[in-house]
Amino acid sequence: MGSPGDTLSPALDAVVSRYAGMVRAVGHRYRLADDDLEELMQDVRIRLWRSRGSGEKIRQSPSSYVYRTAMSAALDLIRRRRARREDRVDVDRPSGEATFGTAPPADVALSRAELAATVGRAVDSLIDSRRPVVRMYLTGYTREEIARLLGWSEAKTRNLLYRGLEDVRRCLRGWNIDAETQP
């Protein structure tokens, strides 16, 4: 068997590029970093090359096979990173690039930290059926994404979410916290 750079390359490139395009199309929705995608696609490329053998086989790979290969590669990527205890820190700007005049005053930062901790406690106190839904929503996912992930109807999702959010607000009010007026 040759290397991925030989005659298999056009077939591999076609399959991997098509698949990468599909992942990229939805990747932004899930905040998928470009280097994660590149690493994943490189692994998919190697796995297809090893398992399919010929350019024709690669070209004819069913989408379900490519999907399973990619899912398997993604799981291995996660395992490798965990094994290396690699946990990349995302920063808003490159290290060493200072920005002046944008940091909030210390008292405002403290209030925000206190509010964050209090909201966290309020969410922690929710009942089991509502808590994961509220966490997912507050993390930034839409109601539709929650319903799709859990296989729930829109009505069930909305009901659990709104009841959960109301519980959080009630909890905060009970602690004399009004998220509207906090800095």
């Binding site: 905040r31 398997s72 993604a74 799981l75 966490r135 507050l138």
Partner: protein, 201 residues
């Protein structure tokens, strides 16, 4: 908007763990995004993932991949659940039928009923896979998947049984399933059934 303020505050509250021992396993993350397994387990995994920035990044990666899942496969868990439901219903129906009726339970019209080997069976030199015929099926595709879900062996046949060339598959734990392609182009699928391939002497 209060939802926005709550979101800002909650996201500020999230932290990356220093010790990942309590984190959801990669397999649990996969079950969550592929909607496989008991809902209670998936909700527990989701509860952790949405309070752990490290797990959430991994979840987002798997979600991006899961979004490319072919439609047929995306419905597989539902088809599998439906197949189990139909099989149980058929089992009850068969149980209440007179014993001398001579009827045999057939695979349901929208699924492929697996016959042999039994779930969890150990095979060595002779590995024959057998399933019920599906009316209107033109051919069947048989797949043996390894623990990672990769196809270790695939074959097409018009028959309802096939002999696996075990010599080309490494010993280990596998699952097999059958897809029937019907005359109208639609497909019927079986559930995944586990088996073990023993080390050959």
């Amino acid at each position: 908007m209060i939802d926005e303020r709550l979101r800002d505050a909650y996201q500020e509250h999230l932290q990356s763990p220093t010790d990942r021992a309590a984190c959801a396993s990669p397999e649990a993350l996969r079950a969550l995004v592929e909607r496989v397994g008991p809902e209670g387990d998936r909700l527990r995994t989701l509860d952790h993932v949405m309070s752990c920035t490290a797990c959430r990044k991994e979840f987002d990666l798997l979600m991006a991949v899961a979004a490319t899942r072919p439609e047929g496969r995306r419905w597989l868990p539902i088809l599998a659940a439906a197949a189990v439901f139909v099989a149980v219903g058929a089992g009850v129906w068969v149980a209440v039928q007179p014993r001398d009726s001579g009827d045999q339970m057939r695979g349901a019209a929208d699924s492929v009923g697996l016959i042999a080997p039994d779930a969890g069976a150990t095979m060595d030199s002779a590995a024959a896979l057998v399933w019920h015929a599906v009316p209107e099926a033109n051919r069947y595709t048989v797949e043996i998947l390894d623990q990672e879900g990769r196809a270790a062996w695939t074959a097409d046949t018009r028959d309802t049984s096939i002999t696996v060339p075990v010599a080309v598959i490494s010993p280990g734990e596998y699952r097999w399933w059958v897809r029937g392609v019907l005359r109208d182009g639609t497909q019927a699928a079986s559930t995944l059934r586990p088996f073990r391939l023993r080390q050959r002497p």
